[in-house]
Assembly symmetry: C2
Homo-oligomer: 270 residues x 2
């Protein structure tokens, strides 16, 4: 059983999780993680304090607490528990106040809130990615920031969605399918927006595994078919000078950020 870790926040606790997870991933051991969001009242904070204290009594070890609690009263209750506090917000706020020469003005929910002029743009980008997934519609490509192209199941859909969700970027995607392969070329609609195209490719063996999970034993999933499709599509990318990325060893975060990096598209922040 790993050391107990708590992510606690008066908001979503997503920032506390991302931060704590990044720090703990530097250690080659397992942790047992619990997230407690929306600790918005002193009553709830007292409950959490009790949970932390109980954890200490049960395990004999003080639980690690990563928190991003903005409200000082609630924070002091958590501080007074047996948990070991790793308070990433306040650790950095004081030196920044000094550097910037202004006082911080903490408000709960400022990080992940709707009070953000660009929030609607982000929701629009998500709906855009949905409506322009998998070549469903070719009508709105003039509104796209980027159009991902590649064979089926090479990572286009998750990458498009991540681009919209995390960065507010409007990403369409278009699949090259088996029927296109005899004489592979860019459809006219894509040619019109060629400067927006970004290719994804993948190791044929990995593609074979992924497709086999979906449709085991099919021609679609066969290694032979995967090899052929990947080869044809990579040739097209090179011939048309479409920048492309091999997704085999990359997570959706890595793919999305590499696309932004290559295309010089701006990251919006939410």
């Amino acid at each position: 059983m790993g050391r107990k870790v708590f992510y606690i926040s008066d908001g979503t606790a997503i920032t506390a999780e991302v931060f704590g997870h990044a720090v703990l991933s530097q250690f080659p051991i397992e942790f047992e993680q619990t997230t407690i969001p929306f600790v918005e009242t002193t009553a709830k904070a007292e409950d959490v304090k009790k949970q932390l204290n109980d954890c200490f009594i049960t395990t004999g070890e003080r639980p690690l607490v990563f928190h991003s609690i903005v409200n000082p009263e609630i924070r002091s209750i958590i501080y007074s528990s047996e948990g070991l506090d790793y308070d990433f917000l306040n650790t950095f706020v004081a030196p920044l106040e000094q550097q910037l020469g202004i006082k911080s003005d903490p408000k709960t929910h400022r990080t992940h809130s709707i009070d953000n002029a660009s929030y609607n743009d982000r929701i629009d980008a998500i709906h855009f990615a949905m409506d322009n997934d998998d070549g469903i519609s070719m009508k709105n490509l003039d509104q796209a920031d980027v159009i991902l192209v590649g064979v089926s199941r090479c990572g286009k859909t998750p990458s498009s969605l991540y681009l919209s969700m995390q960065f507010g970027v409007k990403a369409a995607n278009y699949p090259f399918i088996a029927e296109d392969m005899d004489e592979l070329k860019l459809p006219t609609e894509l040619m019109k927006h060629k400067h927006k195209l970004f290719g994804l490719t993948i190791d044929p063996m990995r593609l074979h595994e992924i497709r086999n999970q979906r449709l085991a034993g099919s021609t679609y999933a066969s290694l032979r078919q995967c090899r052929m499709e990947v080869k044809e599509v990579e040739m097209l990318f090179k011939k048309q000078r479409i920048p492309f990325l091999n997704t085999t060893f990359h997570s959706v975060e890595e793919i999305a950020t590499k696309i932004l990096s290559e295309t010089k598209l701006e990251r919006k922040m939410f």
Copy 2:
């Protein structure tokens, strides 16, 4: 023009952005933000150092640098620049090493990498959300962790996608449409999975605005129609004792985490 801020990483820089953004959002001023991911070589680090130094010369103010650079050689180059370092990883790693009694074993790309047993589950969850969006398919509801229900454009789709992307939770969603309203009831397929249903609702005026952006002047977007649909659907939620949440003032992060909190579904971490 706001103070210059750089988010720098030898990985995706997403963690540096999330962390820096959370800290800076405590200050009521504007910042001018630049993200530089994949600083993976000393040559690239030297370029970044020059960029930071140039920024200092041009603006007369030392840029704020939030970074999560794991490689010590690359980190020391960034440290030696005119940037002001806010190094959230190393600030917390040393005290944790002491507390845990073990040395950290830093590896780049550990946070957002594919080397994660649950990475495939997450991609599956994303495809699940896509394939089961907007009532497209009612066949796979037995595999769903949660089924979001509500009127069109109340936030179901972005919430389902966020649940899958961020937490690996399989979320389907189903819209109640105008034609259902005369005699609103749960379809048989949803009744079978009633314990998985979670309702979303929204202020009719806000819904009216959102729908008007999409189809201005339509019956669909009219305030009268929005009021009627919301009223009927909320009555159904109450009658059927379906837990529900008003999304009007909540971001997709807040909606998703509140759903997890209410349904006691486990958050996976990536």
